[in-house]
């Protein structure tokens, strides 16, 4: 795919000098970070032998500032896992979030858990020390792969944009439009690429570029930028600048933004929640959560991006799950949907709650909570795909469900209603301490893991109030994301990430618990259906707060094992989010959205089919809202 003829003429900085006819990957700009001077020296020597341009760094902070100062100065980052000043995974998150560069992790530790952590945090590769030069010779593939994905996104956006920017027509005709404008957008893309003149870019441009697809990571970046600017105030130009994706045009962003806005409207505020959540994460409305916000926002984006799919799939799963206790889901659904979509002040309540911990993750969890128990296998499958996407985007590790976390989550899932309740309580109570933890920037995936369980719990607690059916979870989760964004929730770990991780790690557990969880949920819902559902509909912030408090009280009344408490800590923040979402969401419009989501091809539906579960649209009586084609 590379053109040997393209020379990396300039002196690549190799000690021995490089010939002008060196083809790519010579000249690849590598930043290597390792606190061990011996390893650093050896790596530098090896990379130079590969004809790369090497910059070495022994501290993560220095590496980050280097990367920030030269936004486009590096192609790839190689980092050690164990470093004294900053955990390698944290650096990984930052790089993925801020610069979207491929990051390779390395360590003398080859234990499966650490390698998995690298995967879930979005590392494109994991090298075991001692690193051999053969392993380094092929690292350029990660750079090319990433650029290909970005181009795909740009092209897609461009084609959509060329079809004409319509406020409400995009979703319906985007595919047709894309077809027509594909060529023109492609031409435009190539022009842009040629202008850039980078060797790798030139190489990529010679590659066939398929239609632009807003990949998960790109969409995450987009959502992060939108959240930072504020969903209502986000303008394509600023979003484009913030995203800083080479090859992406303002038009790409504009059309994507249109679709995103429509999508949000359709969700009836669910997406808003996402947007809000991302916003809160990114901007760190709560200053103390600044560092977390970044991560959260990133995760959120990932979740949002991935969530578009997963949300849909979640919805499907949830629908499927709800199908199990049909009686519960059906009546509740309509109500829940309304409540979900009527988020008027998502920020207020959820913000606080979300801050407590990976809000993003939690949001997902909420939705996942329902389907998770139901279809762990499905998630696993979907998760894999998403993980890949995440890896590519090097998303912040938030979304990644830590192994530990996963186990924690499992407990809640298997715990049934009582567990759920407990978890919820735990989450709520732990939400505050969680926040402080997260604000310190030590956010770890665990939150994600717990969030999942929390989500599950949240639903049970939330549903009764809002009489949300499980089926509505997907919508809810979406809204949660948004809410989280809006709120100050810091824990915006990748929305989809945590769920995936958890599922991947513990598919078995989930499978076992599927029926039980669903049943339990159903039971919870039933009992709560009597509770005043009016609160759900009231979108006032005060209501939200009240509800949050109520939820908390509700939880507190429940007993929860210490284990779940520990586990829930991470999830607490998520839980809060879910609550908010439920509160602020208004139903009806969302239904159609969900339906659309379910109808769309995605992992979830595939998984559902595998599982033999009916698609959600059977369960929900959506208005037939046409889902905006927001490809993920």
């Amino acid at each position: 795919m590379l053109n040997p003829g393209q020379g990396r003429g300039p002196d690549s900085g190799v000690a021995g000098g490089s010939s002008n006819s060196d083809p790519f990957p010579a000249g690849l700009r590598v930043l290597v970070v390792d606190d061990d001077p011996t390893c650093l020296m050896i790596l530098e020597r090896m990379l130079r032998t590969c004809l790369y341009r090497v910059t070495k760094c022994n501290r993560a902070e220095i590496a980050l500032s280097l990367l920030r100062k030269n936004k486009n100065g590096f192609d790839i980052v190689i980092s050690d896992v164990h470093m004294p000043d900053m955990d390698g995974f944290k650096l990984l998150e930052h790089v993925g979030l801020e610069m979207d560069l491929p990051v390779i992790m390395m360590s003398a530790d080859d234990s499966k858990s650490v390698v998995l952590k690298g995967v879930t945090h979005g590392a494109v590769d994991y090298l075991i020390k001692p690193v051999r030069i053969e392993a380094l010779k092929n690292i350029w593939q990660h750079v090319v792969r990433k650029k290909r994905n970005e181009w795909n996104v740009s092209e897609h956006s461009g084609s959509v944009e060329e079809t004409g920017q319509r406020e409400d027509g995009d979703n319906n005709s985007s595919s047709a439009n894309n077809e027509g404008s594909w060529r023109s957008s492609r031409k435009r893309k190539e022009e842009e690429v040629d202008e850039q003149g980078g060797d790798d870019k030139e190489d990529a441009s010679s590659l066939k570029k398929p239609r632009v697809v807003w990949s998960v990571e790109l969409h995450q970046q987009f959502v992060a930028a939108v959240n930072q600017l504020g969903v209502d105030k986000a303008v394509p130009k600023k979003i484009l600048e913030m995203m800083n994706v080479p090859g992406l045009t303002r038009e790409n962003v504009a059309s994507h933004l249109q679709k995103y806005r429509i999508y949000l409207r359709r969700l009836g505020g669910v997406s808003q929640h996402q947007g809000n959540m991302n916003h809160s994460f990114m901007t760190g409305q709560d200053p103390s959560f600044g560092p977390l916000s970044t991560l959260n926002g990133f995760d959120l984006q990932a979740l949002a991006a991935a969530g578009q799919l997963p949300a849909q799939s979640l919805a499907q799963l949830q629908a499927a799950g709800l199908a199990r206790p049909p009686s519960l889901s059906k009546p509740g659904m309509s109500v829940d949907q309304r409540s979900i979509f009527s988020f008027e002040n998502p920020k207020i309540r959820h913000g606080q709650m979300m801050n407590s911990g990976g809000g993003g993750n939690k949001q997902m969890n909420l939705l996942h909570g329902v389907p998770m128990g139901m279809e762990p296998r499905q998630f696993a499958g979907g998760g894999q795909m998403r993980v890949q996407q995440q890896q590519q985007q090097l998303s912040g590790g938030r979304a990644v469900g830590q192994n530990v976390q996963s186990s924690g989550m499992m407990m809640p899932v298997g715990g049934g209603p009582s567990m759920l309740q407990q978890q919820q309580q735990v989450m709520l109570s732990s939400s505050v301490p969680r926040r402080s933890e997260t604000s310190s920037g030590s956010r770890v995936l665990p939150a994600a893991a717990t969030t999942q369980s929390v989500v599950f719990n949240n639903f049970s607690s939330e549903l009764p109030r809002n009489s949300f059916p499980l089926a509505s979870a997907p919508g809810i989760s979406v809204s949660y994301q948004e809410e989280v964004n809006s709120s100050d929730a810091k824990g915006g770990a990748g929305f989809g990430n945590p769920s995936y991780d958890i599922f991947n790690s513990y598919p078995q557990q989930y499978n076992n618990n599927n029926d039980w969880d669903l049943q339990n949920m159903g039971m919870v819902f039933n009992s709560h259906q009597d509770t005043t559902a009016s609160a759900a509909f009231s979108s006032s912030s005060s209501t939200q707060r009240t509800r949050a408090e109520h939820v908390q009280n509700h939880h507190q009344q429940q007993q929860f094992p210490s284990q779940s408490l520990n586990h829930m800590n991470g999830g607490g923040s998520v839980r809060v989010k879910s609550e908010r979402v439920a509160e602020t969401v208004t139903c009806p419009p969302a239904t159609t959205l969900f339906q659309e989501q379910y109808n769309q091809e995605d992992l979830m539906s595939a998984l559902l089919k595998q599982e033999g579960l009916p698609l959600v649209d059977n369960e929900f009586d959506f208005d037939g809202y046409s889902l905006d084609n927001i490809p993920v």
């Binding site: 021995g16 001077p37 011996t38 390893c39 050896i42 020597r45 032998t49 164990h82 530790d109 001692p130």
Partner: protein, 146 residues
């Protein structure tokens, strides 16, 4: 001897085996393949690469050893901290190909994991011994290379 080794290196197909044989005879298992990898990175533009790396390694590992020593002398046996130090030590040793040292590191970490203070102390003593021996041997090796 070096010249002979270099000639053989050039003329034979499987250079690694030759070098390893020579090296192993001299080093007797103190160094492994990784060291050979490092030697291959050495060329005319970087003639003293391996020696530079070795020097750096011993400087850094001396620091780590003294840190561990202090931690052990304190008697409190913070296994987490000890494990951290040893992880770093193991990383460097692996990168340079110090196989015997690496083995001791692994054992030390295992003792840390189970909280066996006595085992840690014993292993550490052995580790220091291996480390010192390696240092001496490499010094001789580099001397002979000049």
């Amino acid at each position: 001897m070096q010249r002979q080794v270099a000639l053989i290196k050039q003329s034979l197909f499987d250079q690694k085996i030759i070098i390893r044989t020579q090296m192993e005879k001299y080093m007797q298992g103190y160094l492994d393949e990784q060291f050979v990898e490092l030697e291959e990175l050495q060329d005319d533009a970087n003639p003293n690469f391996v020696e530079e790396v070795a020097t750096l390694y011993f400087k850094d590992s001396a620091r780590l050893i003294s840190n561990i020593e202090q931690a052990l002398e304190r008697g409190s046996f913070d296994f987490n901290r000890l494990d951290n130090y040893m992880h770093q030590f193991k990383g460097s040793s692996t990168s340079i190909g110090a196989s015997k040292v690496k083995t001791e590191c692994t054992m030390f970490r295992e003792y840390c994991r189970v909280g066996n203070a006595e085992g840690c102390l014993r292993t550490f003593k052995q580790l220091k011994k291996e480390h010192a021996t390696l240092r001496k041997k490499l010094e001789q090796y580099f001397q002979a290379s000049k």
